[in-house]
Amino acid sequence: MEWAWLIPVFSFAAAPLIVVLGRVLPGSGSFLAILAIAAGFALFWWVFAGFLGAGAGTENCLVSAHTGTLTCHYQMAWFHAGLAGAAGSVALTWGIIVDPLTVAMLGLVTFVALMVQIYSLGYMRGDSRFGWYYAVHALFAAAMLTLVLADNFLLLYVAWELVGICSYLLIGFWHERPAAKEAAKKAFIVTRIGDVGMLIGILLIWREVGSFSMFDAFEAVSSGAMTEGVTTVAALLLFLGAMGKSAQFPFHVWLPDAMEGPTPVSALIHAATMVVAGVFLVARVYPIFSAYDGDALLVVAVIGLITALMASTIALVSVDLKRILAYSTISHLGLMMLSLGAFGYTAAIFHLLAHGFAKALLFLGAGSVMHGTDELDIRKMGGLRKVMPMTAFLFSLGALSLGGIPILSGFWSKDEILLAVNDHLNPAFIILALLTAFLSAMYMARAMFVTFFGNLRQEMEHAHESPASMIGPMALLGVLAAVFGFVGFNWPGSYQGIGSFLFFHEAEGFHFNWWLGILSMILAVGAFVLGYLIYIKDRVSLEGFRARIGGLIPVVENKYYFDEAYQWVVDRVVLVFANFIGLFDRIVINDLAVNGPANSVHRLGIAMRLHVTGHVYSYAMGMVLGTIALSIFWWFRSVS
């Protein structure tokens, strides 16, 4: 288990190797990235086994007083900020935490990354920058794994920004397309706004605690060294970073545009791993959030609920298959945040894992559709199951799972969230959460039925099924999307459900609230039946409904005018301010302060150079006049 730090190292090593050797290696070196992540995946099982076998007595391991779970902590010296031993110097360490949260995330990231990289072999075949694609993928995997292992805020922040830059590079992978370029910049800048808040939060904690170590921060919070006000502010600042990364309202605008990247990238980075980093961060520093009765968690819950509700309505009217999935991702991230805000730690991480598998599957399915038809507009699709049966089956499996159809994994994890919300928050939250659950089933039904069912269109008959390298990973993800939910049960024997492994302070057995479970089941099944009747059978017409809420439809279709609002702010506020600063810089700083002295010296030089004529007689004249002047001077001196 002490070798867990090796997991990201493989991929870190692979990235530069592919860049340097990509030209000479077969397949542009893509196999290096796949081997590296496969090694990471293998090592994950070893770490997992080691962790299950470890106990409070194992070296470096103890049951943390702050989280209540078994936590193994390995660290080594990194460097001293300031002279070692001197006053004010800070010793920084490299360190990794291996606790249930990390183990779960390691499993998710290595598995999905491995699947997506294998899938990309088929999807990206023939791309001119095939090697570069795999190099950035490897770097991303390494950074993401470092992020989940990090034991201090500094290392976490470094990894956090590294995944951000990888996301930027991969969104803008086809940078010949202006839209991709713009989307990459948008993603980078929007998440960076949140990251600034996160950095301030980290520095605030450092100021209060004098250390970047998370354990020191937890200790300071529980001992009262960090007061209630500071703790809440620090938690909210960290949450700003999480909001940016996890595309929470009002920072959600970058994620739909990020779909300009290659689809496997959307599956890995913008569905299963990087975007859940925000949820992971909140879970990782949960002792800070939940301290002092969890004032900060209420903000988390409200933001999560707004995000979930808003994104699911947009997903319902979007016509681009990938964008439907993107808004669905935002909505589910909102649900995870809502769950964390409702003290549903286990439920949030459970849903994170279940959603990660299912959403990666859905994106890979969308990529398969795109590969086969070169089309993403669902209005132009229909009946694709006849030409792409495997894709259709697996996509439907993912859609049903995320939609919350019973016994598939999404049902169980969503149910846990609803349960946590019901137990800990105001009744208004559970009503809106149920509405979100219904909407999420509804848009999944729409995407699935409109794309794959009904009559096959003429122009889609040429579509073909994808190669095995793409279907294989989808099938493996499909298995998990179907059965992963069963880890939530308390199976006969000693296993007490995921709540006994992944928990905060108190282990939770499996629990199931019958009325809530049946209600959410009715909503999910009802949504799919309704979707079937609307989109396939045309039994239920939307016209009456549309007419009644007529004014609202354009608002939703325009994504609540968020982009327009931001554009207005950028044009009218940011750019005006920037222009003012720019003018100040140009006139005062540049012209006056920097060029001013230089210009005076220059002008003086021009004036002074005129005496250097180059003519011999003018120098001679100077000598003569000088001699005469000196003579007169001396004469006057001797006379007086």
Binding site: T613, G614, H615, Y617, A620, M621, V624
Partner: protein, 109 residues
């Protein structure tokens, strides 16, 4: 015996003529000749002063040859300098086809 001041007036006149030549002439050769004129003005001054100071009174023998010796040095150095100057002028002429000092003005700015 002629009074010293006349020699000095002659020397000053020669010197000023030479100086005028240096300042006003355009030809490098004439400038060098003017310099020679100035040097010779100085020589006259030196020898006049030396011969004047050399006689303490009429009929006495020379006791002091300093001025004459310096004058011989000046003549020697002037000859050497002239050789150098003419060589430089020759090179300028080869390079530029002219010895007009107005045209030799690269050493500026």
């Amino acid at each position: 015996m002629v009074d010293l001041v006349y020699f000095q007036l002659l020397s000053a006149a020669l010197f000023v003529i030479g100086m005028y030549g240096v300042l006003a002439r355009r030809s490098a050769v004439l400038i060098v000749m003017s310099i020679e004129l100035m040097l010779n003005a100085v020589n006259i001054n030196l020898i006049a002063a030396a011969s004047h100071l050399g006689y303490r009174s009429v009929g006495e023998a020379f006791t002091n040859f300093d001025g004459q010796i310096i004058a011989i040095f000046v003549i020697t150095v002037a000859a050497a300098e002239l050789g150098l100057a003419l060589a430089i002028i020759l090179r300028i002429y080869r390079n530029r086809g002219s010895v007009n000092v107005d045209e030799v003005d690269l050493m500026k700015w």
